[in-house]
């Protein structure tokens, strides 16, 4: 079971990232928990300066940009 965190205060880019992360999870057919983290303290604790950030199983894989579904799938496979 994977835990994927989307870090961001709820802006348009964060919602977009969450949507793309869901697509990636669906395409790989894995079970994953997708959590939205909106609390600024928690976001800063992940050492993210520019949102949206993406954390897979506790590891920060991207921040400040929107990766493609294929990229996210690649990170998920590397983590699983």
């Amino acid at each position: 079971m994977l835990t994927i965190k989307v870090l961001g205060p709820g802006c348009a880019n964060c919602r977009k990232l969450e949507e793309i992360a869901r697509q990636a999870v669906k395409s790989l057919n894995v079970r994953a928990d997708i959590v939205e983290v909106t609390d600024m303290r928690e976001i800063i604790d992940h050492d993210v300066l520019k949102t949206p950030g993406l954390v897979i199983n506790g590891k920060l894989v991207s921040s400040g940009r929107i990766p493609t579904a294929e990229q996210i799938a690649g990170w998920i496979e590397a983590a699983g």
Partner: protein
Amino acid sequence: MDNVLHHLFPLLRGGTGNLAAYLAAHVLLCLLPAFFIAGAMAALIPKEIITRFLGRSTPGTVSYPAAAAAASLLAVCSCTIVPLFAGIYKKGAGIGPAMTFLFFAPAANILALVYTGGVIGPDLAVARLLLSLTFGIGIGLLMAIVFRTDDAARDRLTDTLFAGQREQGMSRAALTFLLAWVALLLIGTLKLGVLTGAHLRIEVPIAGTDAWQSILDRLVPYDAARGEEGLSVQGVALIGLLAAIGITAWRGLENVHEGVSPWTRTCLALIAATLLLAALSLQTTPEALRVGFTGRFFGVAIVLGALYALARYRLSEEELRSWLWESWRFVKQILPLLLVGVFVVGMIRVLIRPEWIEAIAGTNSIGGNLAGVAFGVFMYFPTLVEVPVAKMFLELGMHRGPLLAYLISDPELSLQSILIIAAIIGKAKTGTYVALVAVLSTVAGLSYGAWVDGTPVMSLALWLLAFIAAFAALLAAANRRSTSLSGV
């Protein structure tokens, strides 16, 4: 019922007229490139270029300018401002640079500056930039002095966020691309004879175009004295094209992450066509439509060609996609509210009498500047709407000094931003910040107003320096007394 309609009709007509005039005159050659520039800044500038100078170990002479640069280059959107601000404050250079960043971000935002320059005048845009920079760094330094004991306590925390960043350059293609958009913006908005004069004229034999114009003049009255701009036949065509861009953008840019579709291409082609049409000079005569190819038209055409070549052959697919997405996101986020704002401003203008504005802020007095600031603090307008509001005040007789005081304080202080700041740095610091912004915006308005009234720049600069020094000494003294009283 008839009575209500009788009062309502001029209001609605004022709103519609203002909206149509804005769309035709201001949105295109100024806002369209500005949105694409903002998108390119958000998508193509690697943030590490600047943020690695915001760490705890960086000396103040570097971190304050770096905070200002980060504010103008990286923080075009509020979802970027908050994490960067919290990061700089909690794990980086401390409260001083964090405050400089927070103050400067809305003021130096490329969209706000371009829009101010295009709608009100380049002098006010430059004044907004320079005075915000001076006071942004001033406020940062003052906050650092006032709260220096707190800052020293936080120094024991680690500095992992900024120190770990590697140097990463910006690709040359991305930089050229960004600069080409800036060139397009300048060619589109500068009022130089080479650009505005027509170098080639042709006559398209369509009879009766002047009749269209007279219908438009009746619908949207043209009265320069009252600041009503009117609407031309060209303007109507441009508004039609804008609507078409809106529809294709919705289909082509919303899902650009899945790849570039024919809708995307159509949308970009329409944007290019619109920019070219807006650069032409069209005149209606009884016999024909006179088309003048201005210097602006040729300039826009050349730059658009260069942009196409760069995007097609030099930028990577991913850079292109994230640039288009970021630009579209700014449009989606800002434009609807701006259009509503312009409409409402047009309605309100009908109601306000010039005598009122003139009595309150018609001259560059302290009271006038304070009134400007008070209005800015208590009214909250969505991003960029402060500009048409300011234009309305200017036309109703406000002095440019109080106008700048209003323009600086309005985006800095809104209830929303005050709440977010309070959650991160605490109520005492937020209160100090709000008070400082109010005082310094008034001073900024007074200084600029004095310049407009003819005071030399050098003596103004001296008075500004003296003021900041005196103010800092006063605050430091007040702080020492309060800490010794409370026994901390």
